[in-house]
Subunit: 407 residues, 2 copies
DNA sequence: ACAATTTATTTCGACACTTAAAATAATCTT
DNA sequence: AAGATTATTTTAAGTGTCGAAATAAATTGT
């Protein structure tokens, strides 16, 4: 069903609208907010007065009005950066990266810690993360009370629901509990997401008008990941670990994958898969435990460009795996856009013809023709940017859209 | 973004809630509606008075209260059957089936017309359907003004957005416009959907508490179809022709499919695909144009049960195609439930071991373990039931939730 | 310098909706 | 027939949005 509606709901939704408009615009006078939200100026006055009173907004006239128009000058409102803060913890192979951002989305601190992730014991991961976060905070003279939420973006299959990391290239262990211990040890509410989903989230925050429908962000690199946006919302399956594009089967009984199965797309299109093919190793050669060094992949790319047949062939095999995977996804979901990114995007041109041919081969024209396929240069930072955006949007919707009970 | 909220929105949502509760309960007194919706009795009085006044509800005390409790007896309310009507047109190979149902969901008329669908010219389909509908109505002393919406459930790929049938086993032609001509010629608003989606819709209306998340209804028969429910709503892709599970590639460069591509799941798991395998015909044998007679499939099933190796092998091949397709879908979407239905369900036991083995082979345990796989006996009527449910729900939400402007 | 003009914001009065509490209705019990 | 009990309606208060009117704060013109 739905929930019943009352005047609380109206206020909540309209407050949310105002916050969203301001986050989109950065700064705007009340008239502008009226235009953006469709609300009357009277309502805008009422809502912004409340938000100012609660310390979420700031009257911001630091920038002198450039225009020399007649009439009462407008006074810009903006989100109050110090209303609260969020922390992003990005977990990847061998390192923990932390970013502290204020309520306006500006990054105020940044730290990268080298951590020997692979051999960590299952319960040390959360403990280590929590202690790094607490140290990071006190280094910047902040207390846990200043931070409203921690968002973890991790490589691998993340169960957002329970906050476990089902598996990840960064760890030998599986089913690592993250949100619970980190929440408990820091006293800060904590959420876990998959890194590719966070890229999708970041793109949406930037060009949300483009994401009315369904879009998939494919992420090629050490593994093959995907962020899936359905009807404008990132999709998590029943467990929160959906959209495992990399571990969608490509060839029954095919090449050995890091996940223990055979024939996954990743076994052909990830760094290690491409390398294995290029080296002519049998498809059941176990994948290496550590990430393939970028230099190795760059060398492979170079020799492919110089005409090395084995290297070229490996990129074609990778393209076929990606292409048929996309064809299957298109048959199933018919997305509006597919965006391919990740470190592997460097060599995209080598795989692209095979990708295109495989899509043609794998799905009828009628379904394919409406899909836009784009590539996006990799930006590691986008994972963090996307996570910040998502955390702040979540806070706006779930926390700050609710009016504080009057004193 | 969202839309702004005002008091209209509240009323709309709460009216919708009352209508939904009454559709769910069939008949209920006001106190009961209060409990079901969470609204106060004062509000229920106000809303039901309005709905009674608009003719959508009926005070219904035809059934004498069985209970002999003390206190003022309650008076049941129910949906007014004659408030409006809906028509379902089910299009399948060789026949058009029409059902007229009242606002309470009761069927009041039913007609099956044999139509030589396959060779119809592209613009004759809509004309034929419209004239049959008009004749059907006048036969039952109804005028188009008594009907608020026509819902078409068609086999094949339906573009709900534009109302075209992209392709269908029933027609030689492709891209057949349906909603526009039928709407124009009958004067009744018209919508097109895929038949498997309507089964999913019917299941949801009956057990909507089971469909909070993601569920897929696979439909095996002449073709292989799918209805996909994501977050409790049937999913249509960018064009409205998503969820073409049957035409998701199974084996690159594989068996020839009716859609013109090679290696689709349907090419192995549909009636004609199974038959082709059993007969030992080469995989590039073109599929027959007409539906395979049920008797032929039943004979095949019988010989498989009697130990015919070729027949058994064909069901195994079909099971592999379905199983790997499901494995791929699970990797991508991690649904809560998968339901397999359709006429092909009769021989499900012959394919089931192969389905299970292929799912095991094709997707890691961690993703698979949360998925419930069920089979559902085929009921052709469920397509019609589901369409009626969906039409009425759509009307409740889009039309009747809005209060009529006061006279 | 100051009135007129222009643009932004706030205030006011009307209206819609929900709700709790009080009032009313319609039955059964004793 | 009075009292008890359950269902429904009415009433009064509270919250929210909106259009119109009022107010604020600038520029322009003289």
């Amino acid at each position: 069903m739905m929930n019943k509606a009352d005047s609380d709901l109206i206020r909540r939704q309209n407050r949310h609208l105002v916050l969203e408009a301001l986050r989109f615009a950065g700064r705007a006078p009340r008239v502008e907010l009226g235009r953006l939200t469709g609300l009357s100026l009277a309502t805008i006055t009422s809502i912004t007065a409340q938000l100012l009173n609660e310390g979420l907004l700031l009257e911001d006239n630091t920038v002198a009005p450039i225009t020399t128009r007649r009439g009462r000058p407008s006074v810009d409102l903006s989100l109050n950066p110090s209303a609260t803060h969020v922390i992003v913890l990005k977990i990847s192979i061998g390192k923990f990266e932390m970013v502290l951002a204020d309520y306006a989305g500006t990054r105020v601190a940044h730290q990268i810690k080298t951590v020997a992730t692979y051999d960590m014991k299952i319960h040390d991961v959360g403990k280590k993360a929590a202690s790094l976060i607490l140290a990071f905070l006190s280094e910047h003279n902040k207390s846990p009370a200043d931070v409203r939420i921690i968002g973890i973006a991790a490589q691998g299959a993340a169960e957002t629901g329970v906050g476990h990391l089902m598996w990840s290239p960064a760890f030998k262990e599986v089913n690592i509990p993250l949100t619970e211990p980190i929440s408990r040890l820091t006293g800060i509410y904590c959420r876990l997401s998959n890194d590719a989903n966070m890229i999708a989230e970041g793109l949406m925050a930037r060009e949300h008008y483009l994401y009315k429908g369904t879009a998939a962000v494919i992420f090629m690199g050490y593994g093959v990941g995907m962020g899936l946006v359905i009807d404008g919302k990132t999709y998590h399956g029943s467990t929160g670990a959906a959209a495992e594009f990399g571990h969608m089967n490509h060839i029954p009984h095919g090449a050995m994958c890091r996940c223990g199965m055979s024939g996954c797309i990743e076994a052909y299109a990830s760094d290690y898969g491409i390398l294995r093919t290029a080296q002519g190793l049998p498809v059941n050669t176990p994948p290496p435990l550590d990430a393939v060094e970028p230099e190795v992949m760059m060398a492979l790319e170079t020799s492919a460009r110089q005409g090395d047949g084995a290297a070229l062939g490996a990129y074609v095999k990778a393209g076929e795996a990606i292409g048929f995977g996309l064809a299957r996804m298109i048959a199933l979901l018919s997305p509006d856009r597919i965006i391919i990114s990740g470190p592997g995007i460097r060599a995209f041109d080598l795989a692209e013809p095979a990708i295109a041919a495989s899509i043609d081969e794998g799905v009828v024209t009628a379904l394919r023709q409406n899909v836009k396929l784009e590539k996006l240069p990799m930006d590691h930072d986008m994972i963090i940017t996307g996570t910040i955006d998502k955390l702040l949007h979540d806070l706006d919707r779930e926390v700050f859209a609710r009016a504080e009970p009057a004193a």
